[in-house]
């Protein structure tokens, strides 16, 4: 077991470390004598852009959790493919593995490229595209980040190599971004809330839970029909129906509502802290997918994970998160299930308050549970079982870091946080975790580093 908080070096599973080091030296440079420096610069560019993207998720109004997961999927695919084009002997193309992805432009045979420059250019263009609607501060931050990183990675290189590499990195980004445009999630109007929508008036179905005008209709009702990444379709990991609606106090439905209420009334400090730690509210935080990207970044930084493994793990995590939200949203609108706050206020306590803001969409299944399980499954495959870590990702409440003995402990806690927060029934959490495992299996099947 390796605890990154203790500052130990990470031991990658399956003996991949030494191979990655060799691949890195071969793939990342046009000038072997500069191998380590070029790799460091590429790593710096990768981490720097990911950190900014995680930050921009909070500051870009359309970036609800599903939208954020989609961005991380495309960022991961783009970065991976940009490097794969220069090292097909050691990296397997995602073409044929990711749905409808076609091969990006090829590098000019015999020409010299620099992978750090390529990576920086690809990520910069992707970021500007995916976050084109962010505010003036975000635009300024992206421009500044690009200026600094572009200068950093170009330093000491022949200008023709820089120019050729920038052009190529941008061409790969353009290819990926063009492909992204018809996946069903490219246009997010009205921050994801439909302008018109017919609510199901039958009992047991979702009802608005706030007085915010946009939230009178549920978020992104068609997201479950988006094109998936690694899994076949949004319906691939479908779930059984939740307990049938009933007003009978002895019914399974009312028992689960009573449990949410009882937990809220007996909540311990630890349970409250867990609810707040994983709240990850849209527009107030990095959101749940951003939270898991931040966990990965913390591990990469503390363990000085080699570049290609960072690219690989970011790809897998991004794809898993992207698919997780499509699958979860498919289920949410399949069942259109009522939120605990609606049930409890109607039948148990009209003044009941939740610890976490109730999200504006159907309850079943728990999105945080689905995507946390997917993330845990992917990161466990990458880093191994019993991989301890400390999550010090910043929270809006400024809460202290939390320690976990493995990814599954974190995922299970994230799931239960929704019960402690009063926004999900237990069944939605348990089934959500199961759906996440199912979805992650497809991301885990991706063949990447050779």
């Amino acid at each position: 077991m390796t605890d990154i908080s203790a500052g130990h070096s990470r031991i990658p599973p399956k003996g991949r470390s030494s191979m990655i080091g060799i691949v890195l030296a071969m793939a990342l440079t046009a000038c072997p004598a500069m191998a380590n420096t070029r790799a460091d610069l590429a790593t710096q560019a990768l981490q720097s852009w990911y950190r900014l993207m995680v930050e921009l998720v909070r500051h870009t109004p359309t970036y609800s959790p599903p939208v954020a997961s989609r961005a991380f999927a495309y960022l991961g695919i783009g970065a991976y493919q940009a490097l794969e084009t220069g090292d097909p002997d050691h990296m397997t193309s995602l073409v044929g593995q990711i749905k409808t992805l076609t091969a990006p432009p090829a590098r000019e045979p015999g020409a010299v490229y620099d992978d750090a420059v390529i990576l920086q250019a690809e990520l910069a263009m992707s970021a500007h595209f995916l976050f084109s609607n962010t505010g003036p501060s975000g635009q300024g931050a992206m421009a500044a980040r690009e200026r600094k990183l572009a200068a950093l990675v170009a330093e000491g290189l022949p200008q023709d190599v820089v120019d050729r590499s920038v052009t190529f990195g941008q061409a790969v980004a353009a290819h990926i971004l063009d492909w992204s445009k018809d996946d069903g999630g490219a246009v997010v109007d009205n921050m994801g809330f439909p302008r018109e929508y017919q609510l199901n008036p039958a009992p047991g179905h979702w009802k608005p839970t706030s007085t915010v005008v946009q939230q009178q209709f549920p978020l992104l009702p068609n997201w479950g029909t988006n094109r998936t990444f690694a899994m076949p379709a949004g319906s691939t990991c479908d779930l059984p129906p939740p307990p049938a609606y009933s007003t009978d106090p002895t019914s399974e439905f009312m028992k689960q509502a009573q449990e949410v209420y009882d937990v809220s009334k007996t909540e311990t400090e630890e349970q409250h802290a867990i609810a707040r730690f994983w709240a990850d509210d849209a527009m107030l935080s990095m959101t749940p997918p951003g939270h898991w990207m931040a966990i990965l970044d913390q591990i990469n930084t503390r363990d000085q994970v080699p570049l290609l493994q960072q690219v690989d793990s970011s790809l897998r995590l991004g794809v898993a998160l992207g698919d997780a939200f499509i699958g979860c949203w498919y289920v949410k609108y399949e069942y259109d299930y009522i939120r605990p706050i609606t049930v409890i206020r109607a039948a148990i306590d009209p003044n009941w308050q939740t610890v976490v803001n109730t999200p504006p969409f159907p309850e079943y299944a728990s999105g945080h549970s689905v995507q946390s399980a997917a993330a845990a499954a992917v990161l466990t495959q990458v880093f191994g079982e019993n991989f301890a870590f400390t999550d010090g990702a910043p929270t809006p409440d400024g809460l202290p870091p939390r320690k976990f003995h493995d990814f599954w402990q974190a995922a299970n806690e994230a799931g239960m946080s929704r019960l402690y927060g009063g926004i999900h029934f237990r069944y939605a959490i348990e089934q959500g975790l199961e759906q996440g495992k199912c979805i992650a299996a497809y991301a885990n099947k991706l063949v990447t580093l050779k």
Binding site: P61, G135, P136, N190, M191, T211, V212, V213
Partner: protein
């Protein structure tokens, strides 16, 4: 007891017979007004853009001091004819300063000449009023530390026993952090007096990228607290705030135990009035998308407010005309009775932050008229003030001395706009009656900041807290307006800042009265 009494009077003011508010007709007189001010600038002027409305010439009509952003601020002296077209003349004042974001008038030194607190992206500046619209820098003489921040908000109060005011200055992002501004809020400052000077400022920690401040006696305790509206875009772990500012005590934020509930909005402006006639101030908080209208949730022993914007139709969430369906961005807000029907109406200046495509790019200003049932009815387009420019600060104030409330708005990277209230509604019918009242007391706090004006009409009482602060980077001081509906007379009294209440005194409609402490109302 106040609450029980006032609940009986809720919406009982004897006003118009019909339930539909008169929509006042405004004329856009920007082009002929002589005002050519433009709040220019990019990132570090995306917020701010204020105007100070106050009389510096001695004719008792408000003159206008505009923030100019990257261009120098400008004073426009009011030479409008009574009841006539709005007209101003740009006048050298000594207060022409660059990088100004906003300004508030205040008689700091108690000489009966209004001074200016000039907020900047840079050092804030105290400008002492010299009379005849001339000003001189007073930072050094008054011991005022202007700092070097990004200031856009201000509020003032007179703490008990002090001859000079206590000032709160709200500071926004560390402007040196343009490449990574999030989480880089700078401290708000509290400038307390020491006799006839200011002490070194106290940092209000924590601070959360403040865009509006208001000293307000929310529970009628006699000691105002400081409400703080913060921009959630940039803070970490922040929330809306309210601070105890008790004489002789360090400032202290209200806590959960005192009933203060965390609220995270893109807070940009605060407007206050007792809109529900319960005897306590209510607060409209501007934001992006949904705005908030807060009333006391329970008894005034707990600082708990509930949002009633949605049921009261004051949410002003998106443009109410035009083809842009995206959510709005609201800045300056102000309650005033623009149709004189005895109910407080609400003006909100709107405008995109800067090329944010998920928010309305053509975002009309709101003029929400209060109806008999306490809900609001949008009338900005019909009234003629629904400009879709990129508005920021503003003022709703009688500019041409006719007792009707006119409007001035500061726009970012576009010219300011002025609208004259015609005194008639959109059908041509004359608006109802009004009063204009000015408060005066001897010694310190000559304009009675912290007082309450009460206007009694039959069984109903209108109440207004006299404040300095709030809005968005924009302040005003001078006449206080009250609509009388169809009444030709009323009674008024002032509860002065020390809690002393004058006797009720009769006044006639459509007049300007000076209310001097302990004296009967005097016609101007």
């Amino acid at each position: 007891m106040i609450r029980a009494f006032t609940l009986l009077l809720l919406f009982a003011c004897p006003v118009r017979a019909d339930d539909v508010p008169a929509i006042p007709k405004f004329f856009d007189e920007t082009a002929s007004s002589g005002v050519a001010s433009n709040y220019k600038g990019e990132w570090d002027f995306m917020v701010g853009g204020g105007v100070a409305a106050f009389d510096c010439s001695g004719d008792r009509k408000p003159d206008l001091y505009f923030a100019g952003g990257t261009t120098p601020s400008t004073l426009y002296v009011n030479d409008s004819v009574k009841g006539g077209a709005l007209h101003f003349v740009a006048t050298p004042s000594g207060a022409e300063i660059d990088r100004v974001t906003g300004a508030y008038p205040l008689d700091v030194d108690g000489d009966s000449i209004l001074d200016l607190i000039v907020l900047r992206s840079g050092e804030n500046v105290m400008m002492k009023g010299l009379g005849n619209c001339k000003f001189a820098r007073a930072n050094a003489d008054w011991g005022f530390d202007g700092g070097d921040g990004w200031s856009t908000s201000f509020a003032a109060t007179w703490e008990k026993g002090q001859v000079w005011p206590t000032l709160a200055v709200g500071n926004y992002i560390d402007r040196a952090q343009e490449d990574d501004p999030w989480g880089h809020c700078t401290y708000n400052w509290l400038h307390r007096p020491d006799g006839h000077k200011f002490m070194a400022p106290l940092a209000l920690t924590p601070s959360f990228c403040t865009l509006s401040l208001l000293f307000t006696d929310w529970n009628r305790s006699g000691t105002p607290s400081l409400r703080v509206s913060n921009d959630r875009e940039y803070y970490l772990g922040g929330t809306e705030q309210m601070w105890h500012v008790d004489p002789g005590q360090p400032p202290k934020p209200y806590s959960l135990e005192e009933g203060w509930k965390p609220l995270k909005i893109w807070g940009m402006g605060i407007a206050s009035t007792d809109f529900n006639d319960d005897g306590y101030p209510d607060y409209f908080l501007t934001s992006m998308a949904d705005n908030k209208l807060q009333v006391l949730a329970g008894k005034p022993d707990m600082a708990t407010f509930k949002d009633v914007a949605y049921p009261n139709h004051a949410i002003a969430q998106r443009p109410y005309f035009g083809s842009d369906p995206n959510p709005s961005t609201a800045w300056h807000a102000e309650f005033q009775d623009v149709n004189n029907d005895g109910r407080q109406d609400l003006f909100v200046a709107k405008g995109n932050v800067a090329a944010m495509p998920d928010f309305a790019m053509k975002d009309p200003n709101n003029l929400m008229l209060m109806q008999a049932d306490g809900t609001f009815m949008e009338a900005g387009d019909k009234a003629g003030v629904g400009s879709v420019k990129e508005a920021r600060g503003g003022a709703v104030i009688d500019l041409n001395d006719d007792g009707q409330m006119d409007i001035v708005v500061v726009n970012r990277n576009e010219g300011a706009e002025l609208w004259r209230n015609s005194g008639a509604d959109t059908t041509g019918a004359t608006l109802d009656h009004w009063l204009q009242l000015a408060l005066h007391e001897p010694g310190a706090n000559r304009d009675a900041i912290g007082a309450w004006i009460e206007v009694r009409l039959g069984a109903g009482v209108q109440r207004r807290e006299i404040t300095s602060g709030g809005g968005h980077a924009s302040g005003q001081l001078g006449w206080w307006h009250s609509g009388l509906g169809t009444a030709m007379s009323a009674e008024v009294r002032v509860i002065w800042p020390d809690g002393t209440a004058d006797d009720w005194a009769p006044v006639q409609a459509d007049q300007f009265y000076d209310l001097n402490r302990g004296a009967t109302p005097a016609l101007r």
